[in-house]
Amino acid sequence: MERIVSPNEPKLSTAGQESLPPLSIGLWRHRNVLDLDDFLSDEIALVFEIADGMVEVLARDVKKVPTLRGRTIAIMFYEPSTRTRASFELAAKYLGADTVSLDSAKSSVAKGESLIDSLRTLQALEVNTIIIRHPCSGAPYIAAQHLQTSVINAGDGCHAHPSQGLLDLYTIKRKFGDLKGRKVVIIGDIMHSRVARSNIWGTRSTGLHVVLCAPKTFIPQGMPEMLEKCGLDHVSIEHNLDHALEGADVVMPLRLQKERQQSGFISSIREYVRLYQVNGERLKKAGPDVIVMHPGPMNEGVEISHDVAYCNSSLIEQQVTNGVAIRMALLYLVSGVRN
């Protein structure tokens, strides 16, 4: 891929602190990161290349680099989250940016301010990047539509979670290198999972085959048609977990939200465990190099057994570390793009 150094590329300071090696943002064209549906393979490769540098920074004793010094990043969470929020906040801080957190419970949202008004206010406060998590699908798209500031989607409703999709793919890529013909099985509440949706888009044209494995109650009615309309022919749907796991290279159970039982999506936790829990016995059907991943937080003993969560094949903690690197890479890349 041809490398063009953007004129807006953040200036890398070398004075005082130990800095990053010079990085080029190349063909990067995204002001916003809303989902992975508009990411080309080359762009994902670029994120990963920069994330490699960030992994190196994270391994240092003193992690802070001055790359984004002087830039302000707003972290706007309309939904409770500890992991993703901490991951983004640390990513920003390791890069030297200043962060401001807006918490829906404490902010003007509680006073009835609309999303657009809150966003416009942040823009007027001259923040450089807004990271938004919101319970409504599409909320970050409204932000992108109405603002000139960069917007990163940290999870919107049941729609998308692009940084999670990237960190999952990055983790898989680091393990296997060549992805051609590898099989990824995503298990559980596909219907309500933004992680599953972003993974579907992110794995497009990687050579990976993705199997969505869930009870019929957790597959949206329009899912098969959506896969067809969107040209996602690397994805298939399977309701039987034992069949799905045969020869799997990546096994990714999703968190089962316990309130789904009250809404009737599952008859009981016991029934779900019987049919869909990833446990040691079931994992034997998978391929020899299988890795286990989980977007967290886990319900041990529900969608995943304790022994599997902590087995040698489990890369769940690695995902968390990779998540910071990926988010550092994304913050770095969008900060080089202005309109």
């Binding site: 549906d37 409504c136 699908s137 309500h192 009615q221 329009g222 959506m226 067809e228």
Partner: protein, 447 residues
């Protein structure tokens, strides 16, 4: 502009109620249609040169929301009436989901009197609630509301879930020989849904509203109408399955009729994520295309068009549902349902005529004699140009090209998925009871 007499010269007169499609003149005197024919001689006060225009009976809308009383930030009776007149309507039936709801004689009377005093150039006929407060618990005093001037009963967006109560409501309405105007929705199936339960819902990660939510209630209410003999009008029908049930019920003589809306006849679920005006734009969540029942699929549109052509669906209703900008300028899942539809109904439907899917005369029947059949004649004979009836006439230029711009809309509700869309076909005049309510500046008139 009160004129004792108006002569419309050389119009292509299309009156499906009389199977007329011919170039002729129409003479209006004292608010009534005096005569029609070729080369009418008259010393009329006003002459409208209608060469190249279609003249047809005034449009009738069986389903709209005027929002007053209670939601005047969305629309008032006056602003809604003005938009309806611009859209070619001379009679509109407004739904009772106001605040307070139209569930008693006093509120029915309020709407009629407000409309008569502020918007005298259109007939506004309120629909009364089936249940008190639209709460689905207790029936309203239907006969008293009928005497006050309501033309039918509906709980519209809050359909009666209790089947026993619906059975009793149909018996009461049957006794009054008045229609139930039925919004069919199983609230358990649609709960939490925001768009059609199809591929777009799966794509966006938003809960869908399945076709079965409508169809299960269509099935129930056809069964109840068949049992009670009630007059049942199913409004804003949106699915292929509903159409099939209505067709077979009509064939066996059940007193059931149905309408579809211009948006359900021309747009699909895909309009939410892709605007024809900006095909290459990134993913959008267009709240202006959020409506209940939701926009469905191309197969459903095909079934609705076929149902129009075989007489299963006999009218078009706008379901004009104006909203304030803040109701739509927000997260898709928080946005209000509804489309502001008066001003685009005819033009949007003309796309079906220009593409050869339905005939112009069929379209006009859907807007005139079709809905007139559902209305009782107590408030005047409508939907026809027969001599002696109230002179409600709409003038159309079927080839006029125009683009809908937000700034030009008369409705307070600018929530239209058609904003920016180029149309071919425009309403150029509306005459209500012999008075010119609206006339486009392109139409030549002389005094």
């Amino acid at each position: 502009m009160i004129s004792k007499s108006i002569l419309i010269k050389n119009a292509r007169v299309i009156d499906p109620s009389q199977n007329i499609d011919a170039t002729m003149d129409i003479l209006i005197e004292d608010g009534l249609i005096k005569s029609s024919g070729t080369n009418l001689k008259s010393s009329s006060e006003v002459t409208i040169q209608a060469d190249g225009l279609v003249a047809c009976p005034g449009f009738i809308d069986l389903h709209c929301h005027l929002r007053e009383p209670g939601f005047e930030e969305k629309e008032t009776i006056a602003s809604g009436a003005a938009a309806a007149i611009r859209g070619g309507y001379t009679t509109i039936c407004c739904m009772p989901n106001t605040n307070p709801p139209l569930d008693n004689a006093a509120t029915i009377d309020f709407v009629r009197k407000t409309a008569a005093s502020r918007s005298p150039l259109i007939t506004v006929l309120p629909v009364g609630c089936i249940t008190k407060g639209r709460a689905g618990k207790e029936l309203t005093d239907m006969s008293e509301m009928a005497d006050a001037g309501c033309i039918g009963f509906s709980d519209d967006g809050s359909p009666v879930s209790n089947s026993q109560l619906m059975l009793l409501a149909m018996r009461c309405a049957a006794g009054l020989e008045m229609p139930i105007i039925d919004h069919c929705e199983d609230l358990d199936l649609s709960h939490g849904g925001h768009l059609h339960d199809g591929w777009v819902a799966a794509r966006l990660g938003i809960k869908g509203i399945p076709s079965a939510a409508e169809e299960s209630m269509v099935a129930r209410d056809i069964a109840l109408a068949e049992m009670t003999g009630a007059v049942l009008h199913l409004t804003h029908i949106s699915t292929r399955g509903s159409v099939e049930m209505i067709r077979s019920a009509r064939a066996r003589g059940v007193k059931v009729s149905a309408d579809a809306t211009p948006h359900h006849l021309t747009l699909t679920e895909e309009r939410i994520i892709a605007s024809p005006m900006q095909p290459d734009a990134p993913l959008i969540y267009d709240t202006n295309a959020k409506v209940n029942p939701p926009l469905r699929t191309a197969l459903d549109i095909e079934a609705l068009v076929q149902a129009i052509n075989d007489g299963t669906i006999t009218s078009v209703a706008t379901d004009h549902a104006p909203h304030a900008s803040e109701d739509k300028l927000c997260e898709f899942e928080l946005a209000a349902f509804g489309i502001s539809g008066f001003e685009t109904a005819f033009a949007a439907l003309m796309t079906l005529v220009h593409s050869g899917k339905i005939k112009l005369a069929t379209l006009i029947s859907l807007l005139t004699c079709g809905p007139a059949e559902v209305l009782q004649q107590e408030y005047g004979i409508t939907g026809t140009l027969k001599p002696g009836v109230k002179a409600d006439i709409t003038l159309l230029d079927v080839n006029r090209e125009w683009t809908l711009e937000k700034a030009n809309m008369l409705s307070q509700g600018k929530n239209s998925p058609f904003i920016g869309q180029a149309f071919k076909g425009m309403v150029t005049g509306t005459i209500h009871a012999g008075e010119i309510a609206y006339i486009d500046k392109s139409v030549r008139t002389s005094k």
